[in-house]
Symmetry: C2
Subunit: 319 residues, 2 copies
């Protein structure tokens, strides 16, 4: 079994771990940093770990693609795989910790006006105290209760919020950290009672535009909103308008309809909008990368033994 | 019993609460926004709630001063009270929630490089991912395990740190959230094993300069440091030097030897130093102000009944 490992960020310990697992799995490895560097002898490799989108699109020999991302929307098109039966696993589960920390940080930066305070400090100004909001007694709604949403909810719980409400497709409760869980159909009744809305949804047919102009307007005027899922889930123009009219307390976006966000986008200059360049869940945190590699190695053994893959994506659902 | 309430920030609900309590306590109230507005008829008031430092210094009739701050260092001098027997209560306990949120926010802003990312976003730049640290598996040391330190520790615990070590005068453990607690004498052995040092100490003879140049140098080169207690506890010059030489990951200071921090202070321009203008625990958060008023009202009833005051400061210790 030939396995391509495509990565620029692996450290020595990760390479050792993969090599050790490959021996056990009976795999022959090829490490490359770029798809164009895949040697001729591996053009029939059946496994690829990494962002091998071009290889998957063109190579019918591929039987399993393991991507280091949680979102797999970029692999959902008709032509994404030359082999229509190719298995796809993602790394959902590796990003919960780092993205949860991101959500807590940007939420509190906004609620405590630390963005403004930081701007003052850059100018060498000793600023005045500003009105603040707190996670204490806050009504939090988590839209998308997967690993990321639930890792966030577990951390947020320690801040003594009034409620943490989960919203997902089925309405079933994935973890006791949620005070209540509702199916998406209830969203319009939950939004008016939300002080902090956190969106961590995959990009699927059902989630596109889910936070429409009409729904966004249901949030209280002093509510805060964080999106770490996919930019396609929200109406960016409507958000800009609400923020400029002070009809929302603030918003933090890590994902956008177009990435990188174009330099002429009006979002850059929108009032009370905190922009981060899709960094909530990148691989620069050791823990995330460690977990990512461990997840691949576990499934490499499963694959070699003919067992079901643990992190398999349902390609009809998109997550 | 005449009671002066000195405040610019009380809301209608707080005034109502105080009035209702005063009836029960048999107190006559006078609300003023500034000490110079205290009417002649209240120059013999025996209770003052607020920052009544001038009244305390000059008026021997005062029997109880209740200040809305946690720190009381500004009332420790020989001449602070005209009546040497005057009781002093503080509002330690009202600030834990808001200061704990501040500590979490600035720690993660530094560890996740969100200060740099925010600066890039202000320039309309889509920045590159940066190396990050996490509270997950972090070794946290809390120097000063009172209400503030412990409120922080309880929130930090949800982020799954490796350890939370408390350090205080006695070494006794105030809360099970700490994995271990040591007396201050052990500090030099704990600092080299600290990834995040949080200082929430009162300003006393013992805490002045406690984080000396020598001790600061014991922290690992990639450690982070947050001070929300009093500026007198640290050697600011040594901190600047360590940060400029990259011998510390970053520091967040909310308190300074001189406040407001002078505009020509080198701290403003120090690398990886996050400056906030003593706002971690101000009264702009509703919850803090609510708790503050409740603490005064509770002790007003205690005072009227001749019972011990709950929030009494030991004026010989300074907290």
């Amino acid at each position: 079994m030939k396995v391509i490992v495509l990565s620029r960020v692996l450290k020595e310990k990760h390479i050792e771990k993969i090599k050790k697992t490959a021996v056990e799995a009976g795999a022959v490895l090829c490490f490359v940093e770029d798809e164009k560097d895949i040697p001729e002898g591996f053009s029939d490799a059946e496994v690829l770990y990494g962002f091998g989108t071009e290889y998957a699109r063109t190579n019918p020999a591929l039987k399993w693609l393991c991507v280091p991302s949680a979102g797999v929307d970029y692999l959902m098109g008709e032509s994404a795989f030359a082999n229509k039966e190719c298995l796809l696993t993602n790394s959902s589960g590796a990003y919960g910790v780092t993205i949860a920390e991101h959500i807590i940080t940007v939420s509190l930066m906004m609620m405590r006006k630390l963005t403004l305070t930081y701007e003052e400090s850059l100018r060498g100004e000793w600023g005045r105290p500003k009105p603040q909001k707190s996670l204490k007694d806050c009504r939090i709604t988590v839209l998308g209760t997967g690993d990321i949403g639930t890792c966030f909810a577990k951390r947020a719980k320690a801040f003594e919020p009034e409620t943490i409400v989960g919203v997902n497709r089925s309405g079933s409760c994935p973890d006791p950290v949620y005070d209540r869980t509702f199916p998406i159909g209830y969203l319009n009744t939950i939004l008016p009672e939300t002080d902090l809305l956190v969106m961590s949804l995959p990009d699927t047919v059902e989630t596109k535009g889910i936070l429409s102009r009409e729904r966004m307007a249901l949030l209280p005027k002093d509510a805060y909103f964080v999106n770490v899922g996919r930019g396609s889930a929200i109406d960016e123009e409507a958000l800009t308008e609400l923020l400029e009219k002070d009809e929302l307390g603030g918003a933090a976006l890590d994902v956008f309809r177009t990435e990188p966000l174009p330099s002429d986008s009006p979002l850059w200059k929108t009032k009370n909008l905190l922009i981060t360049p899709h960094v909530a869940g990148n691989l620069t945190l050791d823990y995330t990368l460690d977990t990512n590699v461990e997840m691949f190695c576990e499934d490499l053994l499963n694959y070699a033994k003919g067992l079901p893959l643990k992190n398999l994506v349902d390609r009809t659902k998109g997550y």
